[in-house]
Symmetry: C2
Subunit: 195 residues, 2 copies
C-alpha cells in the first residue's frame, strides 16, 4: 500500500486540529506539527488556510455522505426506520469520542461561516446536498403512510438536520449522549411519528 | 449619568469581538482595541481570558434572561403563545443584525466548551437555569391542555432550546430567517401542537 502523501497527512491532521481548535484557532503551525510535516510542505500544497479548510470540510462531508448512504440505503429497514438508523450511527460515532467531538459542518457553520464567504457558500451547498437523500427518504415514508404529509420532505429534512446539529451542540456541553437520545425520543414521537 | 468604566467598556467590547471571532480567536489585543482602552487595563481588571470570557458570557445570559422574562411573563398570552413569543423576540433581534450574529451560548457551546472545563461547566449550569422558566411555562400549558403530556416539561424545554440553537446555526449559513421560521412552523404544529 502506498504511504499517505504529505498532502493527505496534512489534510488528516487539519481535521483533527480543526475539530479541537476551530477554523480561526487552528494555525498552519499546529497543523503541520500534528502531521509531523515540515512547515514548507503546507505552502507547497495549499494556497491559503481558507482553501485548506475547504478541502478538510469536503473530505469530512464525503465521510458523512458514506454514513448517510449506509443508513438510508439499508433496504432491510422501512424508510422511517432508516432516518432513525442514521441518527443512531452518528450517536455511536460521537460516543466513540466520549462525546467530546461534534460535527465539523456544525462547528464551521457557527464559527467559520462568519469569517469566510467562500466557506459559508460551501456550507450552504453542503446542507442542500446533505438534505437531498433525507428528503427522498421522507418522501418515501410519506408515500407509505409512515410520516404525516403536513410538511414537505425538504422542510422536514432541513428541520431534522438543523435540530440534530442543535442536539450535538448541547451534547458538547453535557459530554454525554442524553441530548441525542432525547432528540430521537421526542422527534420520532412527534414530528416523525406514524400518523 | 456616570461614564461606563474601563471594565464595563472592555466587557462590552469582549462581547462584540467574541461574537465575531469566537473564544479562541479573540485576542486580548483585539478586545482592548475594540474598547479603545490601553492594553494594561485588561490585566488590571481581569485575571485571564478564560475568566473574562466567563464574565462576558454571564452578562450575555443576563440579557437573554431579560428577554425570557419579557416573553414568558406576558400574561396577556396563553402559556403556549408565550413560548412562541420568545422565539419571535429572538428572531427580531437576529434580523436586526441581518442574521450575521447568532447566540453566544450556542457559539461557546461548540467552540469554547472543548477548550475550557470551567466554561463548559458554566454553560451546563446556564442551560439548566435557562430551561427552568420554559419548563414552568410548558407545565402550565400542559395543565391547561394546550400541549400534550407525553414528555416531561424539562425534556420539552431542553428539546426546544437545543433545537432552536440548531435553527440559529443553520441561519448563520443561509443568512436569512428561513431556518428560524421553518423551525417555528414545524415545532408548533408537532411537538408543541395543541392536543
Amino acid at each position: 500500500m502506498a504511504r499517505a502523501s504529505h498532502r493527505d497527512r496534512i489534510l488528516d491532521a487539519g481535521l483533527k486540529v480543526m475539530f479541537r481548535k476551530g477554523y480561526i484557532g487552528s494555525g498552519v503551525r499546529d497543523i503541520v506539527a500534528e502531521a509531523s510535516a515540515p512547515q514548507g510542505s503546507f505552502t507547497n500544497h495549499f494556497r491559503s488556510k481558507e482553501g485548506f479548510a475547504r478541502e478538510v470540510l469536503d473530505r469530512y462531508f464525503d465521510h458523512v455522505k458514506g454514513l448517510v448512504a449506509q443508513a438510508l440505503g439499508d433496504s432491510s429497514l422501512s424508510p422511517r426506520e432508516r432516518l432513525k438508523r442514521y441518527l443512531d450511527i452518528i450517536t455511536e460515532r460521537l460516543a466513540a469520542d466520549d462525546f467530546t467531538r461534534g460535527c465539523l459542518i456544525g462547528d464551521f457553520s457557527l464559527e467559520a461561516a462568519p469569517q469566510s464567504e467562500m466557506l459559508r457558500e460551501r456550507l450552504d451547498a453542503i446542507f442542500v446536498e446533505w438534505r437531498a437523500p433525507f428528503a427522498a427518504c421522507i418522501a418515501e415514508a410519506q408515500a407509505a403512510g409512515q410520516i404525516a404529509t403536513t410538511f414537505s420532505p425538504d422542510d422536514l429534512a432541513e428541520f431534522l438536520l438543523a435540530s440534530w446539529e442543535g442536539a450535538i451542540l448541547r451534547m458538547k456541553v453535557t459530554r454525554n449522549g442524553e441530548p441525542l437520545e432525547r432528540f430521537k425520543r421526542i422527534a420520532f414521537a412527534t414530528v416523525f411519528k406514524e400518523p
